[in-house]
């Protein structure tokens, strides 16, 4: 480079307008200012990163403080009692906890096998040209807001179930000794089963897209080796792909479970909001999130509000455990893939 054009960096910075200084200010001063800005920016980003921690801490702390009155009034029985009576101000969280767990269980029971099979189809069977469109479609569907699933569940799916699946279940299992209790009562349309099915449809795209990603991360050499010794596609999936991707798949399933547990709108529409535990999955019930969504703005009295916040705390603790397990497992497989 021409020596005359070689300039110190500060001059470059000055000329480029990166630093604005008056003519009288010395270069040292400009350098100081640059350094100050540099430090300030670093501290600013650090503060922003810490704010993420502060928010999570704030969530836990505020929920805990908000739920103190209820926890003091009911103690441990809040977790074990079924009663939920705003008039006498006696509250217990058992029915919503039960509803949350059962609806999520039904959802996972359906969504996991179906999601895994779709992922198998996408990675092993599907012709190349159609693979991307289906993959994108599934990812787009994962982004559809839950309220859409809720309104569809209420107006289309629940009446449909009331006319078809539920009478069928009652007729088929009505006389089988143990199962009859599970399918007891009239077909309401809305209820635990409907909520579980809507949740299954909702988490299906999540589970599918994560399992597809982990399946695709299986080294082709492994699969080729298995094919090379004469394995069928199913045997490759069963004995090579699934064992290799196991941790990732479990992580994805837990992530889906976390969604299902905390899902509010899709469930609130179709659960029926009844504070009781019935053996029948056709009966209306409630979940933690649906109870909060339905009752919070109408709750009068500190104890009622506080009980609802305590429900929120329980939900947060459950999902926190599930989600951190999921993240831990997904991080493990990410490390292995490198």
């Amino acid at each position: 480079m021409d020596p005359a054009r070689r300039q110190p960096v500060v001059d470059v910075a000055l000329q480029a307008g990166a630093v604005r200084v008056g003519e009288r200010e010395s270069r040292a001063k400009a350098l100081d200012r640059v350094r100050a800005w540099d430090t300030a920016f670093r501290l600013l980003t650090r503060a922003a990163a810490i704010s993420v921690l502060v928010i999570l801490g704030g969530v836990i702390l505020s929920l805990f403080i908000g739920s103190l009155p209820a926890l003091q009034a009911f103690g441990f029985s809040f977790l074990t009692e079924q009663r939920w009576n705003p008039v006498t101000e006696k509250f217990g969280a058992l029915a919503p906890i039960y509803g949350t767990l059962v609806t999520s269980f039904i959802a996972m029971l359906i969504a996991v096998p179906v999601g895994l099979m779709i992922a198998v189809f996408l990675t092993e069977l599907c012709p190349k040209w159609i693979r991307r469109p289906i993959g994108i479609a599934i990812e787009l569907l994962a982004g559809i807001p839950s309220i859409i699933y809720g309104i569809w569940g209420l107006f289309v799916f629940a009446p449909f179930l009331q006319d078809t699946l539920q009478p069928f279940l009652i007729a088929t299992f009505g006389n089988v000794p143990v199962l009859s209790a599970l399918f007891e009562g009239p077909p309401y349309g809305i209820g635990i089963l409907t909520a579980g099915l809507v949740l299954a449809i909702m988490v299906l795209p999540f589970i599918t897209s994560i399992s597809r990603d982990v399946f695709e991360a299986v080294p082709p050499v492994l699969k080729e080796a298995a094919y090379g010794i004469g394995c069928t596609t199913w045997e490759v999936v069963r004995y090579v792909v699934l064992p290799y991707a196991r941790v990732g798949v479990i992580g994805g399933v837990m992530l889906g479970l976390g969604r299902a547990l905390g899902e509010t709108m899709a469930v609130t529409f179709v659960i029926g909001n009844a504070h009781k535990i019935s053996t029948s999955i056709l009966a209306p019930g409630t979940t933690i999130s649906a109870t909060i969504a339905n009752e919070f703005t109408e709750a009068v009295g500190d104890l009622y509000t506080s009980s609802l916040i305590a429900l929120g705390l329980i939900l947060f603790v459950i999902t926190f455990i599930v989600l951190s397990t999921a993240r831990y497992m997904l991080a493990r497989i990410e490390r292995r893939i490198g």
Partner: protein, 282 residues
């Protein structure tokens, strides 16, 4: 004779394979068909109620004709507020994790917590904002709704910013450093520029995520039957209005709920497609 058991073994393996593969085909057909069915009903129900008055009139009292103007505007305001609050903080936090503290302890803790926040139940975020804003202020407000949505925007932006900045090649940073450029300028003038498309994608995805969020708004922004742009008062939003109208017994309201659902879905799909196109162009 000796080949007979082998042949039957082959046949059974082949049969098992055929069964498994057809099951996966059926699963795909059912899964996709179901999702297509939902969209089909939504399009059908939504379009049959779509007219110009939806965008020009206020939400009606039961039994009267009306539109969704105030909730649409409310949603836009709340979204803008959430992005205005959540994006800068998210970008700065992501910057710290990718640029300053890529390998330090703080970053890995923040990364973990951020992933938890990313999929935390949104109704819990609503309760949190209720506790820290609505209860002390004594009333529901659009501001609280915007902050609640910002808490949902934040982790999405943090995640994408960090990922995108990590993709910027280190040689670029080294080259800039060798010229004597201070760290802050390297980041602001070079890294951000290189990662721009990806970061915008993150913000778009965050907007798509919050535009359908209902749960955190239920007890922060609440709802408003009337035209209001006052951030200090309850504010209408599309998702909450859909929730209220769909559960009402009135046919007009239910129709408006379907139309609102269609508008949200189209907005969300459009945002995700634009975001994906932007990301793919890189």
């Amino acid at each position: 004779m000796a080949s007979l058991p082998m042949a039957s073994l082959y046949a059974s393996r082949r049969r098992r394979n055929a069964i498994a593969m057809s099951l996966s085909l059926i699963a795909t057909a059912i899964g996709l068909g179901w999702l297509v069915a939902i969209l089909g009903v939504l399009l059908w129900q939504g379009f049959s109620g779509l007219s110009l008055s939806v965008f020009t009139e206020m939400t009606p009292p039961p039994g009267a004709a009306g539109g969704l103007l105030n909730p649409i505007i409310g949603s836009l305001i709340l979204t803008a507020l959430a992005v205005a609050i959540g994006t800068p903080v998210g970008i700065l936090a992501g910057t710290y994790m990718a640029e300053y503290g890529r390998y330090d302890r703080l970053s890995s803790v923040v990364r973990f917590i951020n992933d938890i926040l990313l999929s935390a139940p949104s109704i819990v975020i609503g309760l949190f904002i209720y506790e820290v804003m609505v209860a002390p202020m004594g009333h529901f407000s659009g501001l609280a709704g915007g902050v609640a949505l910002a808490v949902i925007v934040l982790p999405v932006v943090v995640r994408t910013t960090e990922d995108m900045l990590t993709l910027v090649p280190n040689q670029l940073r080294e080259a800039a450093s060798a010229l004597g450029m201070p760290r802050a300028y390297i980041i602001a003038r070079m890294c951000y520029r290189a990662a721009k498309a990806g970061m915008i994608t993150g913000v778009l995805l965050a907007i798509a995520r919050i535009s359908g969020e209902t749960a955190p708004l239920l007890f922060t922004a609440l709802n408003n039957q009337f035209w209001s742009t006052n951030l200090n008062a309850p504010m209408a939003s599309l998702p909450v209005v859909i929730f209220q109208f769909a559960l009402s017994p009135y046919k007009d309201w239910q129709q408006l709920a379907w139309t609102g659902a269609l508008i949200i879905t189209i907005a969300v799909l459009a945002l995700s497609i634009i975001a994906r196109a932007l990301a793919a162009r890189k």
